[in-house]
Symmetry: C2
DNA sequence: TATTATTGTATCATATTGTTACAATAGTAA
DNA sequence: TTACTATTGTAACAATATGATACAATAATA
């Protein structure tokens, strides 16, 4: 969650948003997966002058669809455009309500909110996840954040509120959806080797796969086309590059 | 969605709820599946003196967990207790906002709400589904409803707001989850024949299954135990009864 | 006792998956 | 040039799963 940016008519100096512009009590948090050097990564923000790490999140405007809000929030907070986001769970336990981090964030911005300030109230948060090409998705922190960057999923820092649990739930959903949807390809570059793809699957599932069967399975699905060979400089046979063909 | 019942200190006559007791803008709608005579059924309410048909739904108290609210709402509106509900989607499009049905419901109760009444504002609704034993789940309408009963999923009446779309999404989720979870058994009685179970699967999936392979598959999973034979009076071999064994 | 409808399971064919093996490289080093 | 190494693509076989058919074993009924 975040202090949302205002729409254009307001200046940055008035960055304290009016609660009346947003659906009260409803938030969106996004878990953005990337893949690099055989590791799953997620995007985290660091709230300015607080050391608080959080998922990119925000609030839903009165005038926008929920799913559109998720895309806007991701774009505003990380700079990532046109990312397909998928709902995976709604987090609505009372135990997730903890006004302390939000108060710290507001105080770091020079605000001293009353106890009944709308940003300190209970929020139900809709979780979304997305898969992006690590090499192309260059995150840009918004004005609320000291940084916005990739963190190894296997070694996350402590996160604000219940965000660690949100990440775990997103990963579980990703694992369950891996076979049914053509998820993996969004995490790789335009072209990739079969070893790249297998490594991705193994990393998501957390278990090794048989190389021969994996290749046979993927090729049998008819969802990749073979391109030229990749001469990478290694002392071994050069692997083919593949490309995902979506229209099948 | 509904006008929620108040907690005990208030009398039925004061049934107009105070918005301040609930999370504003957030609703829960439930799709309760049953199975009877080879047909999938769902529970629908009919709002009193309006003819409006709706899913059992309601609002989330400030003091309860979201998932607990779903169970409470189902119990209050239909009388069904201790039902395991599962989230399946959040409906948050602007197009679903239509104050007309809610105004009609309130007027039928003798209220004349202002245009800015909280119940007439936009709501984001969390969809939950559940599977219940048709023979044991006897729905009881609440005081808001003329009736609460089972309707054939294949021939639903027109529903309020976007509830038809909510039902469709719930069914799609049920179909997708059928193999991964042991869903079907909640829809049958304690004991059932293999033909009962196969019919259920065929109805949910909307396609016929091969009898031999189905039996082999289910028995191979080790999730049912065979009981005595069922002498049903038909002029044919008596089928065995089976029971679901959850601890496997 | 024959007939009928249904059930449980065997059987075979086919498809899928698990596993091993091996030829084909692309570099490196002798 | 010629081994040598690591990796890749795929064949080959086994094991398992699935699709389809067949058939014996009933419970009632006529």
């Amino acid at each position: 969650m975040s202090l949302p940016r205002m729409s254009k008519p307001l200046k940055v100096e008035e960055a304290e948003p009016k609660g009346v512009d947003f659906l009260p009590g409803l938030a969106v948090d996004t878990v953005i997966f990337g893949f690099h050097l055989n590791q799953l990564k997620i995007l985290l923000l660091e709230y300015r002058n607080t050391g608080l790490m959080a998922l990119p999140g925000g609030f839903v405007r009165n005038t926008e669809n929920l799913n559109d809000a998720a895309r806007r929030i991701l774009a505003e907070r990380t700079g990532l455009q046109d990312i397909y986001l998928e709902q995976f769970y709604v987090f609505g336990d009372l135990t997730r309500h903890d006004p302390a981090p939000m108060r710290a964030i507001m105080q770091a911005k020079g605000h001293m909110p009353d106890d009944d300030h709308w940003l300190l109230s209970r929020f139900v948060s809709v979780g979304y996840y997305a898969l992006v090409d690590f090499t192309k998705a260059i995150p840009i922190p918004d004005e609320l954040s000291d940084s916005c960057g990739w963190y190894d999923l296997a070694a996350l820092p402590p996160l604000m509120q219940d965000h660690t649990a949100i990440v775990q739930k997103a990963l579980a959903t990703l694992q369950a959806d891996l076979d049914r949807k053509l998820i993996g390809f969004n995490l790789l570059s335009e072209t990739f080797t079969m070893a790249d793809l297998q490594s991705l699957y193994e990393t998501i599932l957390g278990q090794p796969l048989h190389r021969s069967g994996f290749q046979r399975k993927i090729l049998g699905l008819g969802i990749v086309e073979r391109l030229e060979k990749q001469y990478s400089g290694g002392a071994h046979k050069a692997p083919y590059l593949y490309r995902f063909v979506p229209n099948k």
